[in-house]
Each structure stands twice: as structure tokens, then as C-alpha cells.
């Protein structure tokens, strides 16, 4: 099954994202723990895009493509922010973490995903995360 969610670039939209993501995964027969892990990845990616991506105050839409089939859950985040590869960030160190520097979110995303990949295509950042599961 597949679904695409289109969300304005505001952190207030996280509540709606949570509802839609959990609903999608529950329909697909996934449990609460899987859904909460998926949402944590979503929050980290979405907040990263909203915080760092845009230099204007305009509303931009972030598209999230969800796919659940053949034991593979995929989320594809597509935004038209400036080119930014979050995977190029270095791993966190304790001082960086406490000072609020980046890396902590990416570490969580990687730890909760089997595969994370980034590409820049047609003026859009596309971040894809995959997680396998037993059917």
C-alpha cells in the first residue's frame, strides 16, 4: 500500500503527520512500536528540513511518500529547499550533543533505519529511508 502526504513546512504540522503515519501503518498491520520508531525518524527529518532548508518566510510543501509492501517500509521525503545532504553530517560527540549541534537527529534516523539515502533531483532534496520487517 502507498500514500503521499503533503505538509507545510511548520513544526506544528507534526501532530497531523503523526496521525496520518500511524493510521497508514496500522492499516498495514504494523504495531505501535514500529509506528513510533517511524514517527521519530519522521520528526527528525521533517524538523531538519523546516529548520535548515528555507531562507524565505514563504510556505513550502514537504511531500512524504509512504510505501509498505513485501516486508519493506519506505518513506521518501521530498522538499524544494536549498540543496542539503543531511547524511554528510559527522557523528555526534558528547559536547556537540549538549550544545545542540547537529548529528544527534541523523544518528537516530540511521539507527532506526536499514537504509538511508539522499539525492538531489530536479531542484528537490529527496531523502529516502527504508526499514525491513517480518511479514
Amino acid at each position: 500500500m502507498k500514500r503521499t502526504i503533503s505538509v507545510p513546512n511548520r513544526t506544528e504540522e507534526l501532530a497531523r503527520l503523526h496521525t496520518e503515519l500511524v493510521e497508514f501503518l496500522e492499516w498495514g498491520g504494523m504495531g505501535t512500536e514500529f509506528a513510533e520508531d517511524a514517527f521519530l525518524v519522521t520528526e527528525e527529518i521533517f524538523v531538519n528540513i523546516v529548520s535548515h532548508g528555507y531562507e524565505d518566510d514563504d510556505e513550502h510543501l514537504v511531500e512524504i511518500g509512504l510505501s509498505l509492501e513485501d516486508g519493506l517500509f519506505t518513506m521518501e521525503f521530498r522538499d524544494d529547499a536549498r540543496a542539503f545532504d543531511p547524511l554528510a553530517a559527522s557523528p555526534p560527540d558528547p559536547d556537540a550533543v549538549s550544545s545542540g549541534a547537529g548529528g544527534l537527529g541523523i544518528h537516530l534516523i540511521r539507527s532506526l533505519s536499514d537504509r538511508v539515502s539522499y539525492e538531489r533531483r530536479e531542484g528537490r532534496n529527496i531523502l529516502t529511508v527504508e526499514r525491513r520487517f517480518e511479514e
Partner: protein
């Protein structure tokens, strides 16, 4: 996406902050305001009781880290107690708050705080 915050103090230098709900990007600022007030004056240590916290993201972790640094600057420390599975998992992933003891029960932490207090009164470092 809600967070309820309760504070109490059963020991002179320690403020206990109990969290209910979710600690994410949108709810973390409320916690940060609470922390600022809770660590004022003669308070040097914080205990975060997470028994009713169902979710934490990097925003929440950073707030807890900053709280720990603030407490250490005042000669105290910050503790987390009663972690639920989802929150425990996140702490394990980031090896959160290195050097911090994570207690599994309030009774265990209470005993630890009492022994710390005793050491201070007896003049040990």
C-alpha cells in the same frame, strides 16, 4: 502531541520534574521554561521522572543534556528515572547522558540522593 509537567521538591537542593505525554520539538520549549525555574536559587539537582513519558525526540534529549550541564555548573547533577521502553530505546541509541546513572525506580534514586546529601553534610567530596 501534548506534554504535562509537574514539579515537586522533597529535598532542599533537588527539584523533581515529572513528565506525562510526549517530549518532541513542539513540547520541549515548555520543559525548558520549567527547567529554568526549577534550577533557580539553591536548587542544584534535577530528577526527571519519566514514568508517564511515552516518546522523546532529539529536541527533548538536548533539553535534558542542557539541564545536566546547568546542574553540574551549580555543583549538582541531573537524573532520569522510570524510563519506559520507547524512551529507553532512544537513550540506548544515543548513549544519552554519558556518565549519568539512570535509575529504575524512585526508591533507588531516593537512596542515592540521601547518600549524596549525607556525604555533603559530612564534608566528603
Amino acid at each position: 502531541m501534548t506534554l504535562k509537567i509537574d514539579t515537586s521538591s522533597s529535598k532542599p537542593n533537588v527539584t523533581r520534574i515529572s513528565l506525562t505525554g510526549r517530549l518532541d520539538t513542539n513540547t520541549t520549549p515548555d520543559l525548558e521554561s520549567t527547567i529554568d525555574a526549577a534550577i533557580a536559587g539553591e536548587k542544584t539537582s534535577l530528577v526527571f521522572d519519566l514514568a508517564a513519558l511515552a516518546y522523546i525526540s532529539s529536541a527533548g534529549l538536548r533539553a535534558l543534556f542542557r539541564a545536566k550541564k546547568t546542574c553540574e555548573g551549580k555543583g549538582g547533577d541531573a537524573f532520569v528515572v522510570n524510563l519506559q521502553p520507547q524512551v529507553q530505546k532512544v537513550f540506548d541509541i544515543v548513549k544519552a547522558m554519558p556518565g549519568t546513572s539512570i535509575f529504575t525506580s524512585w526508591e533507588e534514586l531516593d537512596a542515592y540522593l540521601d547518600s549524596m546529601q549525607k556525604k555533603v553534610l559530612e564534608g566528603d567530596d
